[in-house]
């Protein structure tokens, strides 16, 4: 059976398949190469090439810049939260914190704090709200305040002068906002009661 159909089929496949596979490989290499090339600043030519390969890269999860610690390693970002408690000191916490184990999970939380600022304002607002909701639920509270903390690495001179990596001066705190979920919770409970 094989002898009957195989030679013709193989010939046909080789004839058509080889150039097709070669072209696909060429395009794939181009797509992989152009994605990081279009990281700003980039010429219109590079951007056009990038747009050409974008659907392919997005489909295969190849749309990456590979700009590790570039162009300049900057301050790291943390997010702190404060949950008020009636008649008591507020519960405070922040992520990432070194109590998160294993290290891979710690990095996931680290990235939640680091990467958020790369997204558009609308997404940022929605995600911040999600963070606030998560931590308020965690502490069984209806409101929470979030802060963004920038932690600047100490310079060589500072360390030589006796400074530490966790000196308070290296932290800069900026309030993200206070989030109140009491209305949301009451709405949810009223919906639940109506059923």
């Amino acid at each position: 059976m094989r002898d009957v159909w195989c030679p013709d089929m193989l010939k046909l496949l080789k004839k058509c398949g080889y150039p097709v596979v070669s072209l696909m490989l060429g395009f794939h290499v181009f797509a992989v190469f152009i994605a990081p090339a279009a990281m700003p600043p980039a010429s219109p030519l590079l951007m056009d090439g990038y747009r050409l390969a974008l659907p392919y890269n997005e489909l295969l999860f190849l749309n990456h810049g590979y700009h590790y610690f570039a162009p300049d390693p900057g301050a790291s970002t943390l997010i702190s939260y404060s949950v008020p408690r009636a008649g008591d000191a507020p519960v405070v916490g922040r992520f990432p914190n070194l109590s998160i184990h294993p290290r891979l999970l710690y990095h996931r939380y680290f990235m939640l704090a680091e990467n958020l600022w790369a997204f558009d304002d609308e997404t940022q607002a929605e995600i911040q709200k999600a963070y606030a909701r998560h931590f308020s639920a965690l502490h069984d509270a209806s409101s929470v305040t979030l802060n963004r903390i920038s932690h600047e690495p100490s310079s060589i001179l500072r360390i030589q002068a006796g400074g530490k990596l966790d000196d308070p001066e290296t932290f800069e705190v900026e309030t993200i906002g206070a989030f109140d979920f009491s209305t949301e919770a009451s709405q949810q409970s009223s919906v639940a009661q109506s059923f």
């Binding site: 659907p55 294993p102 990235m111 060589i156 030589q160």
Partner: protein, 511 residues
């Protein structure tokens, strides 16, 4: 004048044609020359382990990250992906399927790691990897990018053909039929390895180039700023503040290494150094910055640059050290590089291997022949029998090579009698074919006698009628048969098979 111009034009055309053919040949060799899938198997094992570990870690906080109203709400992520071709099955499933789906993904990644039903599980593992990553885009980092890249290429290549349960099942299945599993080579393995290699080159090239945009990499402070970052740090390296030249030097070396990786890695002499530096860098990232997952997955990808022969040898030693019987051939059966040393001509000895075909069939070999061959052959480490073909004329060599390759007959093709003797004494050969064209008949007789002294291999001599009177001496050599030329390739194959196993009917089983 006109003739001179015509001559010039025709010679230009010849040069152009040769140049284009050379380019096409180089392209084919680079992308499609069949390769040992061993390294893909090892990369699969290690990457599969990382994927499984990644999913196991997600288990610890699954609902927080992947829940519809978790840290990255489903609606917010979906809004990011509007009108974009993003794949993630998590975008279409709700909280009610979260745990069952996650358990299934864990199982599939475990099967992929162990190499079970790898053709299917490799594709599923790639889809799982990108689904998890795209569902939580804010929690991603370099590790996810590299894992996705490796899983993609492992699903393209035959990553389950070695170091896998699949290969054990195959060995058992063939064993039941009385057949021996032989190391195989695949064009798709070469494609997958090349894609990993080129992707790594791209990553480092742009990682290095992007660093050039930042002043701190020029001043050398960048590396200090990384190691002085308390959120990354797992080991106190502030002592470097008193030896500042050290972080500066590392910063400069890092950039130079990253930018030149794309070029220097292809130099066989510099490759070990480049890889060693890379491993040191990534292990440093793991040890000092706590990103072991990222450091390890990058180092695992380096295996695409490794020599599978060396790893076969290492694996065999490891199995022996563990007290087991090694089934891994220390030297793969078909590796032209090993025989070509000393011959000097690139095309002098070729190992014909199946290209698009998954199984390399063996010529039938009688037990007596097999024993005699094995006992006679020195330094024999290959596990497959091959046909040794001696043909002086290059076009005849390539015709025979192509024909045997198409018919899945492993063979080694050499251009002269001395190389043939060398191959017979070094490798496990099941039969010898001599094409007497352009050979001195007396030398052919001597060669056949030498082979007969060394082994009891069947020898098929292809000769034209005018030579036959000079080949009478062959009558005294055992197991020699002469086939008159011209003869069809099919005749040669059937004749060869009947000589190898006279009991078997000359139906084209092998061929």
């Amino acid at each position: 004048m006109l003739q001179a111009r015509e001559l010039l034009r025709s010679s230009g055309m010849v040069w152009l044609r040769q140049y284009v053919n050379g380019c096409l040949e180089a392209w084919h060799k680079f992308w499609f020359e069949p390769a040992d899938p061993l390294m893909l198997g090892i990369i699969r094992l290690l990457s599969g382990w990382m994927l499984f570990y990644n999913l196991a870690v997600w288990t610890l906080d699954l609902e927080a990250f992947f829940g519809d109203n978790g840290l990255q709400p489903l609606q917010a992520v979906k809004a990011l992906y509007v009108n974009r071709p993003i794949f993630s099955f998590w975008l279409w499933t709700g909280d009610q399927y979260l745990w069952p789906m996650h358990v299934v993904c864990l199982l599939i990644s475990g099967m992929f790691c162990l190499g079970f039903a790898t053709r299917v599980t490799s594709i599923l593992s790639f889809l799982i990897t990108i689904s998890y990553s795209q569902r939580v885009p804010i929690a991603n980092f370099g590790f996810d990018q590299i894992l996705g890249m490796l899983c993609l290429y492992l699903s393209i290549g035959p990553s389950g053909a070695a170091v896998s349960i699949d290969s054990l099942i195959r060995r058992w299945w063939l064993g039941r039929k009385g057949l021996v599993d032989t190391p195989r080579k695949f064009a798709s393995a070469r494609v997958a390895m090349r894609l990993i290699q080129l992707h790594l080159c791209t990553i480092y090239f742009w990682a290095g180039f992007a660093k050039l945009k930042g002043p701190s990499w020029w001043t050398g402070e960048a590396l200090w700023r990384v190691i002085a970052n308390e959120e990354y740090q797992t080991m106190d390296l502030t002592w470097m503040a008193w030896v500042p030249w050290l972080p500066f030097l590392i910063a400069h070396v890092t950039i130079a290494w990253e930018i030149f990786f794309i070029v220097l890695i292809w130099n066989p002499r510099l490759r070990p150094l480049m890889l060693l530096m890379g491993v040191a860098m990534h292990f440093g990232i793991g040890a000092f910055l706590g990103m072991w997952t990222f450091g390890l997955i990058m180092a695992f990808a380096y295996l695409a640059f490794s020599d599978p022969d060396l790893w076969r040898h290492r694996l065999a030693l490891f199995v022996r050290w563990m007290g087991g019987q090694s089934n891994v051939s220390p030297v793969p059966a078909f590796e032209a590089a090993h025989v070509s040393s000393g011959v000097g001509v690139e095309d002098s000895i070729e190992s014909a291997v199946p290209t698009m075909i998954s199984e390399a069939a063996e010529l039938p070999q009688s037990p007596a022949t097999a024993t005699a061959t094995t006992s006679a052959v020195l330094n024999c480490s290959a596990t497959v029998s091959e046909v040794c073909v001696v043909a002086v004329v290059a076009s005849e060599r390539s015709t025979l090579r192509r024909y045997f390759r198409d018919h899945q007959v492993p063979c080694r093709i050499v251009p002269d009698l001395n190389s043939g003797l060398d191959v017979v004494s070094r490798y496990r050969i099941s039969a010898v074919v001599i094409n007497t064209t352009q050979l001195v008949p007396a030398n052919v007789v001597d060669f056949a006698a030498d082979i007969a002294d060394l082994t009891s291999l069947p020898i098929l001599v292809l000769s034209i009628a005018s030579q036959q009177s000079q080949l009478e001496g062959l009558g005294a050599v055992p197991r020699v048969e002469v086939l008159d030329l011209p003869a069809s390739l099919r005749d040669i194959r059937i004749k060869l098979q009947s000589m190898c196993d006279p009991a078997e009917s000359p139906s084209p089983r092998v061929c």
